[in-house]
């Protein structure tokens, strides 16, 4: 699923990494628990999360996750943005809940990790 399609489905805004708008993502993982994110062994993944702090970006950097959508209207901080840009990440913000965002993406064909 293309990043631009994800934006459309989730009424999301691209905060950084607009050059990735046409990139295709295979799977999604929804979690506010970074410990669980670090156990994944999946490439080309979209992280859907309501945990909006610097460790979300750090965790994604370590786990080679390039695409993150922050739900529940959480706002990315300047510090997070700088670290995301440094790592060539694409960050989105959506006003929807984690449940609604995950449901819409699953229904539209984004695959789960397991």
């Amino acid at each position: 699923m293309q990043v631009s399609k994800i934006c459309e489905l989730l009424a999301a805004t691209i905060i950084c990494g607009e050059e990735h708008a046409s990139a295709k993502i295979e799977r999604g993982f929804s979690s506010d628990l970074m410990s669980d994110v670090l156990t994944l062994d999946t490439d080309n993944l979209l992280l859907i999360t309501g945990l909006c702090n610097l460790q979300t970006i750090r965790t994604s950097e370590m786990a080679d996750i390039r695409y993150i959508v922050f739900v529940r209207n959480k706002k990315v901080t300047a510090e997070m943005l700088a670290l995301a840009n440094e790592n060539n990440m694409c960050l989105l913000e959506s006003p929807y809940t984690l449940f609604k965002a995950s449901g819409l993406l699953y229904q539209a064909g984004l695959n789960p990790v397991y």
């Binding site: 156990t39 979300t56 750090r58 370590m62």
Partner: protein, 136 residues
Amino acid sequence: MNLEFEIAGGDFTKAGYASSQVKKMLKQLGVEAHCIKNIVIALYEAEVNVVAHAYEGQILVHIESDKITTKIIDKGPGIPDIEQAMQEGYSTASKKVREMGFGAGMGLPNIKKNTDKLQIQSKVDEGTTVEMVNYF
């Protein structure tokens, strides 16, 4: 090649800095991507553990042609029962740590999963030393 980093206990703004530097270095050295991921996930978990539980710590990285050895030495409360700490779901993390998205009792088991050799030594009220080896 040797690298050395200091870790400040309790400072979550810097947690992951050392792991990030090691990742960049391994990329420059041309180490295979999946191997880099295993190494940095284990190191990041260990780094977060020091920030979450200890007063201060140090990371010593030794890179050879066929392997990387990382040693994480902290001054802190130590682990009274390492076997228990290795069990998934066991955690003594504070509310603050959990708010950062950690403290689910997954750290040590995940370090084990991502390393080829793991040694943990700990003394209560003194600190913990974690030594990890990954082959390229």
